[in-house]
Amino acid sequence: MSEPQITLYRLQACPFCERVVRTLDELDLSYRSRYVEPMHSERNVVKRVSGARSVPAIVDRETGVTMSESANIVEYLNGTYGEGGA
């Protein structure tokens, strides 16, 4: 199986992360889930990748985009992969 193009940094049961998952599913995009700890101080990997410790955060290797904030991510995914998107 090839590597999914999108990596999602997420927190278990975080509603904002689930929102992104729903959009990924709707767009039939494959993704890899990386779960991190609730404590901000234990999320250095997210900071290294995205510049902030907030989740959700995605890395899209196809486009080179790294992004935080669920509303932004949903807008990006729909704009890039949704109907009428590039």
């Binding site: 278990q12 049961a13 975080c14 509603p15 689930e18 929102r19 729903r22 779960y35 700890e37």
Partner: protein, 169 residues
């Protein structure tokens, strides 16, 4: 809470009010040790039985903070259940859940029997528990039941306060 739809969980045939909580035996962890215990032997009065996601997930942390804030373990026995190991339970109980003991159900057999299983996306082979609060009387009859229907969802602490007050009166 948020300006988009929260994820709904599917309907489940879970243990409900009026049912007898099914008996089971699992390692029961206190802040000092763990040993196999049967629920039927542990329940000898009003008991709050709390199912929660694995230790470390914020839902469990919030739940035990609520237990402590409301002082439920002063009024009733409080027993947790999660898929985490006894070692993780002991670490959790070192920080919160004063007077609480937690069953360890890594295979989720108890969680499945109670109708609370939740297959979690991105953790293949792991069966989680959806959050649930069951208030039992001394013969394990369920007097009050709350089971999460959304992911995430948190129990109404005031409703549990009232149910506990009704039962211990």
């Amino acid at each position: 809470m948020v300006d988009f739809d929260v994820v709904s969980l599917p309907e489940t045939d879970h243990v409900a009010e009026g049912d007898t909580a099914p008996d089971f035996t699992r390692p029961l962890v206190s802040d000092e040790y763990w040993e196999d215990r049967a629920l039927a032997d542990v329940v000898d009065g009003p008991t709050l039985l709390l199912f929660h996601p694995m230790d470390g997930a914020f839902q469990g942390t919030y739940l035990y903070n609520t237990v402590d804030d409301h002082g439920w373990s002063d009024d009733v026995d409080v027993l947790g259940v999660s898929i985490s190991t006894p070692y993780a339970h002991k670490r959790l109980l070192a920080d919160r859940g004063d007077g609480v003991r937690i069953f360890s159900d890594p295979g989720a057999g108890v969680i499945e029997e109670y109708g609370l299983a939740h297959d979690i996306d991105g953790m293949t082979g792991v069966t989680e528990s959806r959050p649930a609060v069951l208030l039992l009387d001394a013969d394990r009859t369920v007097e009050h039941a709350w089971v999460a229907s959304e992911h995430p969802e948190f129990p109404d602490a005031e409703a549990i306060d009232d149910a506990v007050a009704d039962l211990v009166d």
